[in-house]
């Protein structure tokens, strides 16, 4: 028979002012199976907890109900106390007579009656509670980082420095991401590659980091602590164990006019190429679509001249399985295109700015390549159409961002800052050039950010016009930019040599398949969803999978790096021991009554339920039932209510407990 103890807390005056605690305790003592009932001023205090522990031992209690504050406040406290007294912590429940009773009702009789009702409900529940044990699952103490931009690089280094092995998977031929494409970074005007390449080299040489470039995640199996990821290592057609990075293949390749991705289409590369000189690893890749040998069967110049015999035209994609305990997603961002064809059906291009047909209307990343010393113009600002130095450059902020009409409502966060930077770098290179910026607002909220923008305006004489641009069109070799200056209330028309658009930061166009493989949610813009926007910004609702960088939301480099380190700390926490302990609120299937309909399998938001075959001794399958993976199950109970035969039950909120509570609700 159950022996329940009831402990009614006064919480000083918080409860006692409205609820007659001693009469409630007295009435509770008369409830069936309650063997001890007491009230006390502060149950959570040391003497209060001692009172509980002593009662558990003295009266040999099999269940405890603490009538006090919200379980969300002190459930852990009281559960720890009863477990110290030798009672299973899951046999302790709380009746919320403070937040849900004394604090919200004025009439003392009503509040006292309600407090008693709430205690009666929890007494009936706790009598049916099971003594649960925390679930322990083994952990593979390795991590995977998907994406080799600055966020992925930082996360990998932090985890590797923390002593755990990391597998870094990057889909392009080199790590570095978009940060490697930048010329200088705000607000310090550090050379972007100069601060990034040492980290890239560290990644390549770190004993704890296994780097897979030109590789993608093919499939993900498993759950937290026990993921098995299949990586597709795409064929480079170059043997990375033999190549020394001498570069002769690129010199000899006859296909020299292919628009390069790294230079955003403004420069040319060869068919066998390394994306940029500082690439890590410095091993080229053959672009099959544009290679003469793959198209016509002739050439093979690279193979002829490679004295290490590293070229291998027969190479195939390789599939590699890696076991890891945690995954960090750091896949980065794409930029909004003003063209008519878009990656998202809800987004529209900018017909007003020419739908991308004017060669001198470029986006900010293209301008970065023009500014960059390793870019297609070796750092000289030359316009794409005729190579002349532009004397008047117009920068337009918020192209795509903050624009419901184009389908993007959010602010891209970085554009105000990099536009100010662009005006400064342009002025430093073209001394008598004039820079105009059309803006809606200036968002320069970081450390030293606002001072940086003021520098652009005051020292480098950038002209800031508050207004939007309604149209850009070509007239001769000039681009006519028609906009407004709302502060002076006038219309403005500028004849520009070059127009730079600060296009919106968007999610990667191909992120959805990866997100679905990982079971990570995403919003309508395809930015990956964090578990809680305020308090859990690097976790996702998929246990063991973390986020870092711009794949989660637009952000600048310091934020991406901070988030990467945060994700790394979560990973190190997860991998800190051989086993992981979780709360045991998990579902269990009654295999006798389960008909194997599979509704629960479809309903589970975490895909924690699988089909399981029940076999007899001869190995013949008797029936197929559902089976819950206790490592993945998060205890929501959706499976329970969808089960037609009620063959699945949820520990901590079993049907028996729940119906007992309903029975006890109204006397």
């Amino acid at each position: 028979m159950a022996r329940v103890g009831v402990f009614v807390c006064h919480c000083g005056e918080n409860i006692a002012r409205t609820v007659d605690c001693s009469s409630v305790a007295e009435r509770a003592s008369k409830l069936r199976d309650v063997v001890y009932s007491v009230d006390y001023k502060y149950m959570c205090s040391d003497p209060g907890q001692t009172l509980i522990k002593d009662a558990v031992k003295k009266y040999e209690l099999t269940g405890v109900v603490i009538a006090s504050c919200s379980p969300l406040m002190h459930e852990k406290t009281f559960r720890r106390a009863v477990s110290e007294a030798g009672l299973n912590p899951f046999l302790c429940e709380m009746a919320n007579i403070r937040e849900h009773c004394s604090w919200v009702h004025e009439d003392k009789e009503d509040a006292t009656q309600k407090a008693f009702d709430l205690i009666r409900i929890m007494v009936e529940k706790v009598k049916r509670n099971h003594p649960l044990q925390p679930i322990r699952i083994p952990v593979t103490r390795r991590a995977m980082v998907i994406g080799g931009g600055v966020a992925g690089i930082q996360a990998s280094l932090d985890i590797a420095d923390g002593g755990r092995q990391v597998v870094l998977v990057e889909k392009s031929p080199s790590i570095g991401g978009h940060m490697a494409q930048l010329s200088e970074t705000f607000p310090t005007l550090d050379c972007s590659q100069c601060i990034l390449t040492p980290k890239m080299v560290s990644v390549n040489s770190h004993k704890n980091i296994k780097l897979y470039t030109y590789s993608e995640v093919e499939s993900v199996e498993g759950y937290i602590g026990n993921f098995e990821v299949t990586i597709r290592k795409k064929a480079r057609y170059v043997d990375d164990t033999k190549c020394t990075g001498c570069g002769i293949c690129q010199q000899k390749c006859p296909m020299k006019k292919i628009p390069g991705e790294f230079n955003t289409g403004l420069g040319k590369r060869t068919a066998i190429y390394v994306p940029f000189p500082q690439a890590v690893p410095n091993i080229p890749v053959i672009d099959k679509e544009n290679c003469t040998y793959f198209k016509t069967g002739k050439c093979k110049a690279c193979e002829k001249f490679c004295d290490r015999k590293a070229i291998d035209f027969e190479q195939k994609d390789e599939f590699i399985k890696e076991k890891v305990g945690a995954i960090v997603v750091a896949t980065g961002y794409d930029l909004y295109s003003i063209k008519k064809e878009q990656n998202f059906p809800t987004v529209k291009g900018y017909g007003e700015y020419g739908y991308g047909k004017y060669p001198d209307v470029i986006n900010s990343l293209q301008f970065e390549r023009l500014l960059s010393a390793s870019g297609p113009t070796f750092g000289e600002v030359k316009r794409p159409s005729d190579g002349k130095t532009p004397e008047t450059v117009v920068f337009i902020q918020c192209v795509g961002s903050r624009d419901d009409a184009k389908g993007i409502s959010y602010c891209s966060k970085i554009c105000c800052m990099y536009t100010a930077k662009h005006t400064m770098l342009y002025k430093h290179k073209v001394h008598n050039g004039k820079a105009f910026v059309f803006y809606m607002d200036i968002r320069s909220a970081g450390k030293n950010y606002d001072e940086f923008v003021r520098r652009a305006i005051e020292e480098d004489e950038a002209v800031y016009l508050r207004g939007r641009v309604s149209k850009i069109y070509q007239e001769g070799d000039k681009l006519i930019v028609k906009g407004a200056d709302t502060l002076s209330g006038t219309q403005v028309e500028i004849a520009a040599d070059l127009v730079v658009l600060a296009t919106a930061m968007t999610a990667q166009s191909d992120i959805v398949p990866l997100a679905q493989k990982l079971g990570v949610g995403y919003d309508k813009y395809h930015f990956l969803s964090e578990a809680h926007p305020k308090l859990r910004p690097v976790e996702t609702n998929s246990a063991g999978i973390f986020l870092a960088g711009a794949c989660q939301a637009p952000k600048d480099i310091p934020e991406a790096v901070a988030q990467a380190s945060a994700a790394a700390s979560k990973v190190l926490g997860l991998c800190s021991s051989e086993e992981l302990e979780r709360e045991p609120y998990v579902a269990t299937v009654n295999e006798t009554t389960c008909a194997g309909c599979g509704f629960c399998i479809t309903a589970c938001p975490y895909q924690a339920i699988e089909r399981k075959e029940i076999k007899n001794r001869n190995g013949e399958v008797l029936k197929t039932v559902a089976s819950v993976n206790h490592g993945v199950c998060q205890g929501c109970g959706t499976c329970l209510s969808i089960c037609r035969s009620k063959s699945i039950d949820l520990a901590g909120f079993t049907d028996e407990e729940v119906y007992a509570e309903i029975d006890a609700m109204f006397a």
Partner: protein, 168 residues
Amino acid sequence: MPEENINSKKEFQPAIAAFVCTWCTYTGADLAGTSRLKYEPNVRIMRLPCTGRIDYNLIVKALEKGADGVLVSGCHPNDCHYNAGNFHARRRFTIFRELLNFVGIDLRRVQFSWVSAAEGAKWADLINKFTSEIKELGPFTEYKKLSGVSFPIEEFDFSEETVEASEK
């Protein structure tokens, strides 16, 4: 049952059952408490991990066991702590209402709402509004009549004349 309340006011005091999810509505109700907002004392809350856990048998049971009104409340769509539990609950509720309607139970007695962890005031308003609606509707007795649970057996006339008359 209402008559057994310690406070025997002349006005009928409804008994209201609320099935709420831990992460949003329960936390929202906690916030109402922390903010010292005041609402009617008739509601008895049952905490569940997610509204997805709510099998509509629970609601039927609550009505059977003395509830005059039942509330189900969870996280806003897309905010479910467990991703999709509240969508399941919503879909089930839509079908359940059809069933309730068919059976003849006044749909105003069973309500579904979204209350997030930040909406303490919304919870308090919801309880106040719902309690006054149920007060107007009066005690829920139809279900008990159907199941014959709370009425003494003498009330049913099983004499042969009555049975034959009803069969014609």
